[in-house]
Symmetry: C2
Subunit: 280 residues, 2 copies
């Protein structure tokens, strides 16, 4: 496994792979690797000749006052975890390599980024679409892998690829959960024991939504209220949003008459966690 | 020569060229082909195996109230002009093909787009960077060709390619002029005989700048005033801007102590024309 930190070296590597007519699978990460990332790597490994994983903690997708400074950093440990997955290349550039002096270009979306997390994290998705465009241009993957846990991110990137005519297949893989249902997230590392327990209310609220939907309840407000009450019953939680939206456009639904997404963002102490489930 | 209007067909064509390991030269145009475009095609023809020219009158790079509706349209005539240049493919998609329902992604720059034309045409360069990104992703050229007449556009695109890590060589070719010095532009077609004569004052102002610079005058304000007086002497002209800027950053210079650009935008009757010259 190679670890490459320079764009020019990464380009040369990609060129040599393309010359051999090999397909490239790509898993972009911000490090703090967990089993969710690993499952993306395994999907990518089974579907491509060459597997490239990036580790880049992208400052531009954190708004001011967000947790960029406290985001878990563990590069050496990450490299060892990734090595076990038969990955060919880790691309791990520095911030100056990706955003050199004079940098001034951004990729932005409207509408789809106004919903859910976009509403409470205004600059976040511009940071995501910009860094993903850059990484796609460097790595030139045939397929790129994202987790359903960050559902809106996947939707934004599918839209990005379609709108900018990138020739890349976006694969969205199922959310990986702990045995008790908590969705894996790099931010889980920051929970203490009590918070870890409280965080289960997030999954609980999604189970509530699923069971109400299975009982043919289609009124979004009614479901959202029940989801909220699950979370409010738990100490030290603060709801950032609970939304039921069209799964494609992410626009709020009042009546669930098409494929829908129930999505939740909750503060557990000082840590903001998100999760979601499809209702269809 | 093929004329392709669908993105998928264009992609398939590009794929087959890449499979044969041929290089692709690309000249993007908005149609209304003139000898300036032809000179770009000839440069591209001599430096690449395959030559693709696009014709797409991009609505998003015209601000409200600008001349999108009156921009010259002459597709059949353009095709015949391009055919003579031994071009392999014309890519001429419709507006719906490039911006389908639900389209919501834009590529933007700050700083470099604030100067010169960006200051008076606020949405213009966002439209340019977005459509050029899309065309580059579809055509996947090795080299793309732009004219120095649209100096800021070339600078913006060079910055775009660098910032988003596109692996494309941007070639900026010299401005082509009529015998009397008027820079070729699709908008020249709209000038009547008197306006055509008055438009010469633009080139006159650039010659004035060059001669003052050659006489070791380095004070930008002094040169700009003399340039303005050349244009003001001519009837029915209105100066949009006259600027002397750093040729790389496009930031205003007061003292010309590095490679500079003297750039002019002037209304000749109802037609806005631009031109520029390097001072070094």
């Amino acid at each position: 496994m190679e670890v490459i930190t320079k764009i020019n070296e990464m380009r040369a590597k990609v060129l040599s792979v393309k010359d051999r007519k090999k397909s490239i699978g790509f898993v972009p990460t911000m490090g703090a690797i967990h089993d969710g990332h690993i499952s993306l790597m395994r999907s990518a490994r089974s579907e491509n000749d060459e597997l490239i994983v990036s580790i880049f903690l992208n400052p531009t997708q954190f708004d001011k006052g967000e947790d960029f400074d406290n985001y878990p950093r563990q590069l050496n440990q990450d490299i060892e975890l990734i090595r076990k997955e038969n990955v060919d290349v880790i691309f791990s550039p520095g911030t100056e390599e990706m955003y050199p002096d004079g940098y001034c270009t951004n990729v932005r979306q409207d509408r789809i980024t106004d919903a859910l997390c976009g509403r409470v994290r205004p600059g976040h998705f511009n940071g995501v679409t910009t860094i993903v465009t850059k990484l796609f241009n460097i790595i030139k993957p045939d397929r790129a892998y994202f987790g359903q846990k960050d559902y809106q991110q996947s939707a934004v990137i599918e839209r990005l690829v379609r709108d900018l005519n990138m020739d890349i297949d976006i694969q969205v893989c199922p959310t990986v959960r702990e045995e008790d249902g908590l969705a894996l997230s790099s931010r889980n590392k920051r929970l203490n024991l009590e918070e870890r327990q409280n965080a289960l209310s997030i999954y609980g609220s999604l189970l509530k939504a699923r069971s109400m939907f299975a009982s043919n309840i289609r009124d979004a407000k009614e479901i959202i209220e029940e989801m909220a009450s699950v979370i409010k019953k738990t100490n030290h939680t603060k709801i950032d949003y609970i939304s039921i939206v069209n799964a494609r456009t992410l626009e709020d639904l009042s009546l669930i008459n098409e494929k829908a997404l129930a999505a939740v963002a909750v503060w557990i102490g000082n840590t903001r966690l998100i999760d979601n489930t499809i209702l269809e």
